[in-house]
């Protein structure tokens, strides 16, 4: 399987190690992983801010770079959702383009969805000892039905205990530019999330979308919590690099 890997702009700049962890997982699942070098952003910030035109330009750029692969995988539910659910909306006025969007969208997957349902990875390359709790990021959950997949992958690791938090599916308040435009509101939502995390006594909060994780980590640290670990699921499943 030739997999085109879309790093996402946030992982590219903020947490490259998540990208490499994801590649190790894909390779462990037997995929040939290719990272198109000209990739940048999926267009979501513009799209969700009402800038349809530039979002469409980025959709076209994506098509040109990724259409040839058997699968496209992203370590982010919201970027995968952008491609699968919203690119068709951006291209709906052009039937030929629309058909291409739908075709590539059907082959585009969020990382855990791909590992659990397509590549069927059984043995995780990483090890993890201890309790963790999982936050369900909104787009992955509601646009792509990612809920069981990360839990199944985590449960397959011998040392992992999953302590579910209450309202794991409630938004953490990130919302892209929302987190800056409506900072107070966003902070309150993050605060609620932090309380639910603390109540699990898990010690590690795991999620599949870096934006949410930065938001949660930022609030935890500001609240003086310097010990709760915040990890992307790829880092847990793949382990840290030697």
């Amino acid at each position: 399987m030739r997999v085109g890997f879309f790093v996402t702009c946030l992982v590219d700049s903020m947490r490259p190690r998540i990208g490499f962890a994801a590649i190790r997982l894909l390779e462990a699942a037997g995929c040939e992983v290719i990272v198109p070098e000209q990739q940048t952003c999926c267009g979501q910030p513009g799209y969700n801010s009402g800038d349809r035109k530039s979002a469409k330009a980025m959709a076209l750029k994506f098509l040109a770079e990724f259409e040839a692969f058997d699968y496209v995988v992203l370590p982010s539910g919201s970027c995968a959702g952008m491609i699968r659910v919203h690119y068709p909306d951006l291209c709906k006025d052009d039937p030929a383009l629309l058909a291409r969007c739908i075709a590539v969208g059907a082959r585009t997957f969020e990382l855990t969805d791909f590992l659990a349902n397509i590549a069927k990875l059984k043995k995780m390359p990483g090890t993890f000892q201890g309790a963790l709790t999982y936050h369900d990021s909104c787009s992955g959950l509601r646009e792509l039905d990612v809920y069981k997949q990360p839990r199944a992958l985590l449960a397959s690791m011998p040392g992992v205990a999953i302590n579910e938090m209450v309202e794991s599916t409630t938004c953490c308040g990130f919302g892209g530019t929302f987190s800056v435009k409506y900072g107070e509101l966003s902070t309150r939502m993050a605060d609620n999330k932090c309380q639910h995390i603390a109540a699990t006594h898990a010690g590690t909060i795991v999620g599949g979308d870096l934006g949410c994780l930065l938001n949660i980590e930022g609030r935890l640290r500001r609240n003086g919590d310097s010990t709760t670990r915040v990890m992307h699921i790829a880092e847990v499943l793949a382990g840290t690099e030697k």
Binding site: C41, S49, R142, K181, S186, G218, R221, V230
Partner: protein
Amino acid sequence: MKNNSINFKRQVTIKLADVKLQSALSRLQSRFVEGRAAVISEISDFEETRTAAAAIRDRVLNDLEHWLMHFEQQATARGAIVHWAETGADVNRIVAEIAVQHGVRTAAKSKSMVSEECGLNDALELAGVTVMETDLGEYILQLAHEAPSHIVAPVVHKNKEEISDLFAEKHQLPRKTGIAELCREAREILRPAFLNADMGISGANFLVAETGSALIVTNEGNGRLVTTLPRVHVAITGIEKVVPTLEDVTTLLRLLPRSATGQSITNYVSVLTGNKNKDDHDGPEHFHIILLDNGRSSLVGSEMQEMLRCIRCGACMNHCPVYQNIGGHAYGWVYPGPMGSILTPLLGGLEKSPDLPNASTLCGACAVVCPVKIPLPDLLRKLREKQMERGMKSRRETFMLKAWAWLALHPPVYALATKFGVRAMSLLGGKNKLLHTLPGASGWTDGRDFPAPEGLTFREIYQRRNRQ
């Protein structure tokens, strides 16, 4: 009601700091979210029912004029008088005229959000008609001179203690603390209002075209008293509420109470058809139905038409993490939460509500629960697109969006910009790897640290490795 949604941001600050409000809002989860979750499992084909309900609403909206004419014909044939109101002021004028025509001095009112749109109570008081709200929640708000903060549970922002204090002060009676006692006290005060009222005013959850009926769902029985005891009944609702048949209504009724209050069915479902006939035991001698447009018809046929499917269940706000944290008053007009963030700009003007379409993470919790499958996040995004098209976004935001798009479409420059950007941020992060302030992003850093980047971009490391 005056549209104050321009003050949204300021209101958010106030509401987040309001301790009483926050404790009152914490009940939403157990009362409505868990309540809904428990009863929707009673319907084995819940998703199919949602699809069917959306289709019923679409069928009407795609041919609204026809169904309204059909409704008017049937209602008129059964003795009701149908009035058309273009604006809220028209509704007020029509009700005042009806009051004059029938010598009305007092009116008893059951819950109607459309009448809130019009500011009907104030207008009637000016016209010399005393209006008494009889829905318990609305009655409390009338005493407190406050607006509803939720379309189904108007007084959800208040706790029991506040209501005890309010009753003791306004009723001049010893302070009660139990819910049953408080209800009894309200009931004793309201009863004469029902018996003496010359006019009853209600809303209508649905208008049934085939029978010309106005249908209301209530829990307190006040709706029945208001619509049957007084000699004049005026039902006020929006033009979009029409539904072809009673059969269609049964489908919608499987969803409305379940989505709204977590009830399988409300205590009362009243189908009000025509005025009192000679051999009827009760009912109003005169039955007026006022249908308000107030901008709704302009949505028909537009890309926002789906919003008119709304059956006002409130599920979208109950499940909205923004509403859950700020309550309904912050939204500044009659309709709060996700549906209000769309309706308020659509009915009141986008320029008057610049924040509402943007004050959402687009988390999608609303769309998942909406019984008529309104794609609320998509509609919010469409409003953002309109703001962009009409140049209503700030210069700064427009510039940032354009700059980001330009960079993303020019990969070599993008690579360079990110390379230096992340290095700088990583240095600023220091040994704790946290930025406490970030220029231009105080919205983030006022309440949160910003975790610093690792220092190199993925693409840099990847290229380096590939060269080796």
